[in-house]
Symmetry: C4
Subunit: 223 residues, 4 copies
């Protein structure tokens, strides 16, 4: 089942170490596939992943196909797909700068035009939730439903990003760490300038509705 | 049109991720070509760029040749070429350390002999300007006209560098991030020593007028 | 003797520079092999290591086989194997973030769920001990015996990690530097949230007893 | 002249970018060769270096052989060779962490056993000196003559390291940046523990006189 999607996911997972978002086997990506989802197997290193190693589950996190156990975050992914029907792909990482903000239970403030573009304002921080059950999924859904930001950081834990496709969620994860780093650095210098809300709104509107290539590739995308 | 220049620009763009100046599709380079400019297409990743994907526009930012939309920063590049006739190449990035200074609306002070050499003093910081129209270009031109520094950081945004060629502008972008990082680190240690203006002047004069290989390659260049 | 183990150790050593844990020739890995241990030769760079260059010693650190001198940390490794019979592999590094905590003689506090998973709480810091004799080994054994954490940092020095296999010890060394970095960054932001002990206990229990692939690969491993 | 040495120097220069010590064309290595020295050409990027591009000068910095101009730091290298007869190789970089300490005109304090081993104590900081003439060389010689440390940082400038061979000087440059980074990080955590002088002395003595492979390779070298 879902051969092309398994191959896509295998390739996308390699972007996680390449972009410095993961260490050892931490981090995972999933894709919605009709009434199922496809997700990384648990405890397999990124360079050992193959299309065949990917696991198919239903949206209650029951394995449908796959010789490995699915990621320990499967229940969280399934919960998000059940409650956010527009989501087609999810990425989870412990990327270091974003997770440092999360260890402070602190949203990442919007001090960069690139953040206004991509996240429409600050990146929100959800509360502490234990791993394993549906607590994390519930916290992600509570915060991201209706939110401009496709990224959330979770207290003491890490990052979840969502998108219409796994690639869009991956881009959000990459940009989340990028802005988390730059804003971290900015705060070390001591006199950060916030962007006015009206400017954030204009940047987000322009970026969402105007830029990028009009055909084929997604409408979003700077530069 | 401009086949060699398109090939050059494609190669130069690969230096941006290689030097850690860009993330995903952010960042772009352009070159002046007679009455036109050649620039990166919007929303295309660096590894997918080809000479054919580059876009030719006139200096009012109207597309002359190219199957893709040009970078969302095209109006800014065009404005700079119209107002600074000595500029033959422009680079734009959100490189993290330089952008952290920009988020503080703070020029990067001259505390390194390499900065005195390359930038002739501090790297200036321009004010906040919205993306999309000519506001950013106007701010770049206002600050850089007659300035020693080929680099400017823009509040809450990122970096623009200029040069007689795209390669010279690229070098300025690479060096800008390098000194932005070292000066950032220096300020975390708490007792940074400024360089006296007379020493800055002597270093800049020596570097501009004396060093490098005398034939072929540009006169500027340390080591 | 121990041909397969020599080949494994050679491959595992390459993970040290790849993960940014070592500089030049610093850092080493050993494996217990029946009544012996196999360890890196002293002063050989990682890319020059071969299976033949590995040194076999007894558990009193006397060379049994090998044309090179063994690592200058051999006495420490031997002491640990003699006193902690469950240990099958040991890794030593001066990885920068973990060593920065060590230079402060400060344990790394548990503010990440990934730390609760992997280390069961804070990463402990041992006291100052001179290199060369058994002082370091004694300090490692004193702190790690019966401790949840497979990693210890040593004041003004660096990191030792242990595991049932060299690969498990390597994973602990990689994760130790990863969390040392994220917790370092978190403390720069100023209001770090500790995880309650009962939550740490539940995370550690779940991670140790439930997750990962049940057959073949080790039970531990997130994602 | 000096064909083997030219080839060696070309290879060693590639270690500078590989270890993150240089940006663009900054940084250079030289080797003493009988009554001459061989040094990097000015303004040539590291990947464009060839054995033929290296420049031979006498110890008054006059070009003896070479089609390129020698490094702009040639007078400094020549001065050091003239005044420190035990020096066979010199490396110069602006590596970021070491240069951050230099921008504070601050020696790097000895808080790591690896520093005691390699540098025998703190890494000293020389005063401000203008580039181009002999001022920098004089400052390097004044501080390093009779000093345990093979590395010096120069106020507002960067790093010079010396050794019996260019490779030994390169190792000192790599280790200098490594410890500059770890000690920087340690100081951000706020309560750094100095190593007692008697412990520094014992570590330095042991490292210098005991460790490493006894035949062939240099006696110095940890792990």
């Amino acid at each position: 089942m879902y051969e092309d999607l398994r191959a896509d996911l295998t390739r996308l997972h390699l972007e996680l170490p390449k972009n410095g978002l993961v260490t050892w086997t931490s981090g995972n990506i999933s894709a919605r596939a009709r009434e199922h989802m496809v997700i990384k197997p648990s405890g397999v290193t990124f360079e050992d992943l193959t299309p065949e190693s990917m696991v198919v589950t239903d949206l209650e996190a029951n394995v449908v196909e796959g010789k490995f156990s699915p990621s320990s975050d499967t229940a969280t992914h399934a919960y998000i797909y059940r409650h956010l029907p527009e989501v087609g792909g999810i990425v989870h990482t412990h990327s270091p700068y974003a997770t440092a903000w999360a260890a402070n239970a602190r949203e990442i403030p919007c001090v960069l035009t690139a953040m206004a573009d991509e996240f429409g304002g600050p990146i929100p921080c959800g509360g502490f939730a234990l791993i394993g059950g549906e607590e994390i999924g519930a916290e992600v859904v509570r915060v991201l439903r209706g939110h401009r930001s496709p990224a959330i950081i979770l207290q003491n834990h890490g990052v979840f990003t969502v998108g219409p496709t796994p690639k869009a969620a991956l881009k959000a994860a990459v940009m989340c760490e990028d802005v988390a780093r730059t804003v971290f650095l900015a705060f070390q210098l001591g006199a950060v300038q916030l962007i006015a809300q009206e400017h954030i709104d204009r940047l987000y509107d322009r970026y969402t509705n105007v830029y990028g290539q009009r055909s084929g590739t997604p409408a979003k995308g700077p530069a």
